[in-house]
Subunit: 149 residues, 2 copies
DNA sequence: ATACCTGCAAAAACTTTGCAATTCG
DNA sequence: CGAATTGCAAAGTTTTTGCAGGTAT
């Protein structure tokens, strides 16, 4: 999976324009920091990455910007069993792999789980299902090697 | 889905004995508080529930006990996009429904998603897959009604 | 008896908010 | 120029840790 930050930055311009919001250096830098990585970083990890380019950026800006970009549909908060929220810059449909040992989270391409697209919620009752997410839990490559001793 | 707390408490006795750990009132009460509900409470919610029976219990004990019970395999931390960790007392295989509006999380029985049991991770590489979890995202019954205005 | 647990209090980690100064369009 | 954003500092949440005293086996 290769991601071109330029396409994401173009989307940022477009959606900010539609919403009447300014495109700031912080928004560009934070979005770029997120989409150029394939793990699912916490706000703190993004803060560290962004601080290398914008040394005066504050954590408050990182948190607020992540909310804004999420409202604009440019990124998503993802479910994680850990004690800090994780973010995903990949807005295309895909699955996740969660390592139970180190807590890391990786993207899985759609075709890694044949049949997942056919899942349908039977007997939804009054619930409205919008999306079905599949995540595989186990050991990531590094932790599988470590466990082999 | 009906759960008998007695069976869970018996498991607690057994696993503590195997591990050489004492069975305390706090461990019994916290486990019982969790397994008798079908939402996926935070540590704070469990603290409130437990405090009704053990008024002097501390949050630190709730956090530590949840870790211990998780190590014993009596409950699980579940993935949630919110900013506090959630716990699940249902250790049998099942799926989850996550409401995008109110953040609530409900159990779904296995047969709510026919085909989910057949999913297999293709091309796992060095990863070791242990379990495949499916979660449906959308609006819970209460929020679907609210949205209808 | 002894190893483990608990409560308390303090600290650490994570996230949000108010406000004055700045930046974008 | 005006509206929205940013950094700072402070406050609010959530989670962890050290330690003295208590409890289960």
């Amino acid at each position: 999976v290769i991601r071109d930050p330029r396409a994401h930055l173009a989307e940022l311009e477009k959606r900010c324009a539609s919403a009447g919001l300014p495109v700031t250096a912080q928004r560009r830098t934070i979005l770029q920091a997120l989409v150029t990585r394939h793990d699912h970083p916490t706000a703190e990890q993004l803060y560290s990455a962004v601080a290398e380019r914008l040394p005066d950026v504050s954590r408050a800006t990182v948190y607020r910007t992540l909310d804004t970009l999420s409202d604009l549909g440019l990124l998503r908060r993802v479910a994680h069993p850990g004690s800090a929220v994780r973010f995903d810059g990949n807005t295309a449909p895909h699955h996740h792999f969660l390592c139970e040992r180190c807590g890391s989270m990786e993207d899985l391409p759609l075709d890694a789980l044949p049949g997942a697209a056919d899942l349908v919620l039977a007997d939804a009752g009054e619930r409205v299902a919008r999306e079905i997410a599949v995540s595989v839990h186990g050991r990531c490559a590094a932790c599988a090697r470590a466990a082999a001793d």
